[in-house]
Amino acid sequence: MVSDTERPLKQEHTELPKLTMKQRRLIKNSILHLVLVSLSALFMFPFFWMLTTALKTPAELLRGTEVLLPATPQWQNFRIAVTQVPFILYLSNSLLLVSLSIAGTLFSTTLSAYAFAKLSWPGRDTFFIVMLATMMIPIQVILIPSYILYAQIGWLGTRLPLIVPFFFGGGSAFYIFLLRQFFKGIPRELTESAIMDGAGHFRIFWNIMLPLTKPALITITLFTFMFVWNDYFGPLIYLSNPDHWTLALGLRAFQNQYSGRFDLMMAAAILVMLPTLVIFFLAQRQFIEGITFTGIKG
């Protein structure tokens, strides 16, 4: 854009009326905004249609685009979604899995990230590469023997296969990597002076490292929440007892029960996704930074 003023010769050939730089930018920005607004509308439309569908009557559903908005919003669709299935049970199951997974992930990732970042021990660098490589392995390769193992120690039909691995760094290679970078960023002098003052590594870890890496810990908590809340495959395989079902499994069961009743299905789906949307809106910055980290430093 800057170039135009520097090439007056070329500009004389153009037949467009001469526009000032400011006007040109205004036009360019308006076009860009127009494109972005229409694209956003396109991306947001499914959410809008989901909500209006959830508030329609079955008769209105069949009339498609003739009825954009329901004549009277059918709020009871949401009540049906909550009362026709044990919604509270599914919700508390999901919350139980989510909170224990977060606890386990924070426990295992912080400790091992400290070992990778601040301690030197034989094999550390090799294990670090192994850890990065585990991100590439399809889950199916370890799924079957794990399933057999859990069957043999009597864990099938319990929630343990979906909780215990988190306490041992299961599926959290990326988080360890993220935390390691954070820990490495903390000046060496800080830890060294603490050692001089007689503090052990556990004290340093607990009193210096963890408080200083709160943003990373929040990011890990949020990502684990999203993953476990939304996970379908793990619960599908391990939670055979309906009393242990999570919202994701409950939603699927709801689909089978009310197949064709998209008004009810959309109401239930909205309720399931609402917490993730709210948390995302409240903590977008942490999310965006975390995702950015995967792509650029990873």
Partner: protein, 308 residues
């Protein structure tokens, strides 16, 4: 005396650090062996056995592999379905993600807001997402066919059946996957904004237009994140399962019966652990080979600050 004492306490500290290293890493190390390495080796062994969760695995050599490759009428179709999915969804996802990022990489007001909106579909549970698109693509009452109705009339054709049509079902699932292209967009955008402004300034002085700046500066300098998303897309694409499980049940006519779906059925319904393990290792091998191939493209990746 003093220095000697300090020396020895330092070595003691070093020795202690070695021990502590293992202590701190122990949760992950134990996990690596118990939930990682052991199952991996076990599944490798199982792939040469026949085992249905009763009794003990019986060694049968390469039989599982031989049957899968030559005597199984679902193995190749499921692999083909998966390849089709990967080959279309990965490039399309890249293009849409990059296009969105390029649009947002302008000093325009509200960029953060648009970024949030485009990312939003990524936080939706995959079950909820599948139900939503089941409704949008619903052939008779779904909004997509309603909107396309004038086009159908104009061309005098039958409305498309989307996921109910075996020829279109895979494509339908790929199209709906583009809704989540905002996830990679975030990564591209972050990398674009790391590109030094001076490069663009210098290009402007040399008379480059916006298109040239995009193709000669922005895109080349984005190759690391394009590369990252490409590899992750391939790995993820080969594991496609849940959307088909919820939306189509693998149909119609097994057109969305993907590799991971077949593996799941073998494992959970047939309890055919040997054959399922063989499939898992074939999947690992394919992923590995494709990743290696992709890594050989690494020399086209341009890392800022590394050029000499």
């Amino acid at each position: 005396m003093v220095t000697v004492k300090k020396q020895s306490s330092l070595t003691a500290l070093k020795r202690q650090e070695k021990r502590l290293g293992y202590v701190f890493a122990s949760p992950w190390l134990i996990g690596l062996f118990v939930f990682g390495a052991f199952p991996m080796l076990a599944s490798f062994y199982l792939s040469f056995t026949t085992y249905n969760m009763v009794g003990v695995p019986r060694f049968i050599g390469l039989t599982n592999y031989r049957i899968l490759l030559f005597n199984d009428n679902l193995f190749w179709p499921s692999l083909w379905n998966t390849l089709y999915h990967v080959m279309l969804s990965v490039p399309l996802g890249l293009v849409v993600g990059i296009a969105l990022a390029l649009l947002l990489n302008t000093k325009i007001r509200g960029m953060g807001f648009y970024r949030t909106l485009f990312y939003l579909p990524n936080v939706v549970s995959v079950v909820a997402l599948s139900l939503l698109w089941l409704w949008l693509f619903q052939p008779s009452f779904g909004i997509i066919n309603q909107v396309l109705d004038p086009v159908y009339r104009l061309l005098n054709m039958e409305p498309l059946g989307w996921y109910r049509d075996a020829r279109l079902s895979k494509l339908t699932l790929i199209l709906m996957g583009l809704w989540t292209a905002g996830g990679s967009m975030i990564i591209y955008l972050a990398q674009m904004q790391d590109i030094p402004f001076e490069l663009y300034e210098a290009a402007s002085i040399d008379g480059a237009n916006a298109l040239q700046k995009t193709t000669r500066i922005t895109l080349p300098l984005m190759t690391p994140s394009i590369f990252f998303n490409f590899i992750m897309g391939i790995i993820g694409g080969f594991q496609v399962f849940t959307i088909a499980y919820i939306m189509t049940g693998g149909g119609p006519s097994r057109s969305t019966y993907y590799f991971a779906y077949y593996l799941f059925d073998k494992m959970i319904h047939d309890n055919n652990m040997g054959s399922a393990s063989a499939m898992a290792w074939i999947l690992l091998l394919i992923t590995l080979v494709l990743t290696m191939l992709a890594l050989s493209l690494n020399r086209f990746v341009f890392y800022l600050g590394e050029q000499k």
